[in-house]
Amino acid sequence: MKQLVSFIRKEFYHILRDKTTMMILLLMPIIQIILFGFALTTEVKNTEVAVLVPTNDEASSRIIDKINASAYFDVVEKIHHTDEIQPVFRDARAKLIVVFEDHFTEKLRQTGKAHIQLIADATDPNAATSFTFYASNIINSYQQELREATSNPYLIMPEIKMLYNPQMIGAFNFVPGVLGMIMLLICAMMTSIAIVREKEMGTMEILLVSPMKPIYIILSKITPYFVLSCVNFATIMLLSVFVLKVPIAGGFISLVAVSLLYIFVSLSLGLLVSTLTNSQQAAMLISGMGLMIPVMLLSGMIFPIENMPVALQWLSDIVPAKWYISAVKAIMIKGLGITSVLKEIGILSLMSLVLVTISLKKFKIRLE
């Protein structure tokens, strides 16, 4: 026991003295959450809109008011002639121009048909798709109001409901993603580097000649990173609830339980990486290329797995982060209980069992 305590204390000294690395590890989740939350968002907010209204009338002003009132748009400019459209885009005064036809209200009342044209700056196609979609929704809702007023009985109006995330907030998707990535990075990458560093420095030899049991060496190596991961988990949770306003809809205990399981999988992955290599650089490369990139690309964090070729979908099944992220989404966002993520828990448990068995076995063999 005394052995273990002395050794764990030493591991904490290593981490606490390496201030740069520690700062990076503690700040990384904060920076990532802020980046994903505010800078790298695909949401459209306060998009500048110009309107072209040849005739000021009732229906067009109602629509303009509705657009302006929504959080997605700011009506910044009113123009009156088609010649003015080009300069608006050229000077980047607006990203979207809503063009009403002449005598809009009149035509609407008399023929029941009037046209609105949405002209978007599609230099960023994703954003353009989103905000034209939002704008059409607003126009449709006005149309619906009109129809209700005239009570036309033969109308089929599809009503779209965005379940679990009605406002389509991106944070609902990336908070679980960032969780999955940070934990893996700290547990797998940092643990493997810490073990390999001992090999590289030649201190591992001294430890192996000492009566220190290999399992103690492993335990003390993973303890500080386990603590760090818990701190990061708490940071991400606090940020997402209080800054990004992503609520924890399901049970917090279930969320913690699944996260602990995932931390365990990541730690055993780190252990495995450390048995594969003898240099810190190689350990960093293996964790970086072999773990980080699959997590970014194949976990469903950024790209939907459903759209991938079948081979990649299979490959994504062996990425632990995929299962963790899916479990976190179910518990945190959908508010489901732990029983609905039994499949994820089962797969993650199986993964950790396999990884721990392999890496402990390899770790021992290496001592001979």
Partner: protein
């Protein structure tokens, strides 16, 4: 430079020999280690007595480190038997490990830990009590004249300091045998002399020193020296007898004559 201090060291050597009781601390019997078809250590046998300084010489790749790793429980022999500090190296590895110290050719303390933290860590690893660690640390700081360096990070100390400290840490738990793998690589002759003073101090406390080295002048300070060529022990005797036997003026000449027999490529 080193020859100037030789008489003094010789005196101590004589004292050591008088103090020695005749029990055997290391026994190697036909120890062999094969890696695939390559025989790194080929059927070596020898005995080392308590309090002896046993020099283990050989060119790079001769099998010194492999032999030392087997004796210290790091590596399991392919065949043969070894007894260290009274325990079998194959079946009682844990007990062997408790009773030996080890200092590797790579510098083996933690640079980002303070001097006293390193000592405390290794004391803890060897299961020493906190109080004992504290008392012995104070003592050690005095002996090494390190009182001002106690709170410094080991990484900030000069190499000579580090090596003296690493040696002191390797015998801090008072082992029966200490294995030193090329301990004085890269340090100046004065520090090397001080280092050997520490080794003599250790033997006077009954610690047996098993040391590999490249420096032939250091070989002269050993009680007995074995010279390995291509995995086999080609010569084993006191430096004086070896010089007579090979009709050589120095250990360097003895070594040169033997090393020429090697057919193995150095690694």
């Amino acid at each position: 430079m080193l020859y100037a201090i030789e008489p003094e060291l010789k005196d101590r050597k004589m004292n050591n020999i008088i103090q020695q009781n005749s029990n055997i601390v290391i026994t190697a019997e036909n120890l062999t280690k094969k890696f695939g078809h390559f025989t790194a250590v080929d059927n070596i046998s020898f005995e080392v007595e308590r309090g002896e300084i046993f020099g283990f010489l050989g060119a790079n790749g001769a099998g010194k480190t492999t032999a030392m790793r087997m004796l210290s429980g790091l590596s399991i022999p392919t065949s043969g038997k070894g007894i260290v500090a009274g325990y079998d190296i194959e079946t009682q590895t844990e007990l062997v490990k408790k009773n030996i110290g080890y200092m590797s050719q790579k510098f083996s303390l933690y640079d980002d830990l303070k001097v006293w933290e390193n000592i405390e860590l290794f004391g803890g690893i060897y299961g020493m009590k906190d109080k004992e660690i504290k008392v012995k640390t104070d003592e050690l700081m005095k002996v090494l004249n390190f009182e001002n360096e106690r709170d410094k990070l080991v990484g900030s100390l000069p190499l000579g300091f580090k090596q003296k400290l690493a040696f002191s840490v390797s015998i801090f738990h008072n082992p029966q045998v200490v294995f030193l793998d090329e301990p004085t690589g890269g340090v100046d002759p004065i520090t090397r002399r001080q280092f050997w003073e520490l080794i003599y101090d250790a033997t006077s406390r009954g610690i047996t020193v098993f040391v590999t080295t490249h420096y032939m002048d250091e070989a002269e300070y050993c009680n007995r020296v074995s010279i390995m060529v291509d995995g086999k022990i080609e010569a084993l005797d006191s430096p004086k007898d070896l010089k007579e036997q090979f009709n050589a003026a120095s250990m360097d000449e003895v070594f040169q004559q033997l090393a020429r027999r090697s057919t193995r490529q150095a690694d």
